[in-house]
Amino acid sequence: MLLLLAGTAQAQSPESLAWLRKMQEATQKLSYSGTFVYQHGSRSETSRITRYAGGDVERLEVLDGVPRELIRTRDTVRCYLPDSRVVKVERRLEHAQPGRNFPALLPEQIGTLAKHYDIALGDTRRIGGFDCQSVTLTPRDNLRYGYRLYADTKSGMLVGALTVDPAGRLVEQFMFTQLAIGKVTPDMVKPRHAAAAWRIEDAQAAPARLPGWGLSAELPGFRKIVELTRRIGESKPVGQVVYSDGLAAVSVFIEPLGERRESARTGLAPAMGAIHIYTREVANHKVTVVGEAPAASVQRIADAVEYRRP
């Protein structure tokens, strides 16, 4: 029995945790520029991503479908939509609350992931010209997805990431088809559009308490990491509560239905890769739960949302 317990506790090798740290460090410290494919179901989309580590600026340009460009700086994420001439602005709250550890995992938190995932070294493979080492994160229950992350053995840069469901089927994958590390200049992360006369939709996100709102039962492993108010598009203020197990996150959006009383249709929307969206009505509010977790987990969180008069 003791041996069995010891075996469970030792399931994740120090090497695999070291690789996760290496990936995380590379993501933050390296400048890089590359083209990657995001694939789920029969859909695949190609995007270009560039990070200029010196200025902590990152640019993502979606090359398929409706043009879209996102620029992330230290304190904001801006999403440029040239077709509708709109810029959506999200302030990054993680820096507004010093001492809070979200969304980025701190290196010491990586060890706590092992509570919910069995972390191990996987196969080695060449992807896009890079020799890669994989790390597998296999969930310990069926409440979350599993992951296989491929990192360049030299730099630690994440070159490919696969998400699999509890039955081992592929849910979605990200794969670089071309990647250059270093050689990024500040002008490579400037927005393509001046956007001078475009409409600005500022989410006006601000940390807040949402009195009375909570979960009647938490989903095992998922704990509340932030509570805020914000706008969705041009809506009135909407509450957002985020729960995470350290790797997957689920957001609960709480929106007053108002006097028109357009009721919210209860149900699950078609999956988008690993993302599920579940909507229901609670206390004259529309509750929309969005998360990269299996449908049953998203629904369980949604079903547990309750309002108690404070």
């Binding site: 993501t27 520029s33 999200e90 088809t177 932030v226 957002q240 995470s244 996150a249 969206i277 049953a296």
Partner: protein, 147 residues
């Protein structure tokens, strides 16, 4: 230009050359159509199943040189697919089995992309992957017919 687009999809271009093609894609409708066509071909073939690749026959109107470029693209798609279907480690039986009753299916909320934008910033995945997860949005395709 079409060969260059295909080369970009295959990851064969260096930093500078890739930048030139992307600029062209942004400003050239015809180039964008080629881009989309290549993806459609890739998608169609992927639906046929990757485990048993078959010889690809291109329609007669498909010029030979594009066929070669597209074939190279398929090799890249096949690589991606092959990685995906490699055997997965078995998952331990779940200790928690209270699955909720199956939900009704409803359409995606019209604000789905706004919810996603609002959500992604809080996903710990960005600490491993940077902004890449932000590509996850609802498909919206502009009315640009593919010839």
């Amino acid at each position: 230009m079409k060969e260059r687009i295909s080369a970009l999809m295959d990851g064969e271009l260096d930093e500078h050359a890739a930048g030139v093609v992307i600029e062209a894609l942004a400003g050239d409708r015809e180039a964008r159509q080629a881009w989309r066509t290549y993806h459609l071909i890739g998608d169609a073939l992927r639906e046929r199943g990757l485990r048993a690749p078959r010889p690809v026959r291109f329609p007669r109107f498909f010029p030979q040189r594009f066929a070669l470029a597209a074939a190279a693209t398929l090799a890249a798609v096949a690589l991606v697919g092959w990685l995906a279907f490699a055997p997965q480690p078995p998952v331990a039986p779940a200790p928690i089995a209270q699955a909720p009753t199956p939900a009704a299916t409803v359409p995606l909320p019209s604000e789905a992309n706004d919810y996603l934008l609002a959500h992604q910033g809080f996903s710990p995945r960005v600490s491993f992957q940077g902004m890449a997860p932000y590509v996850r949005t609802v498909a919206e395709h502009r009315e640009e017919p593919v010839q």
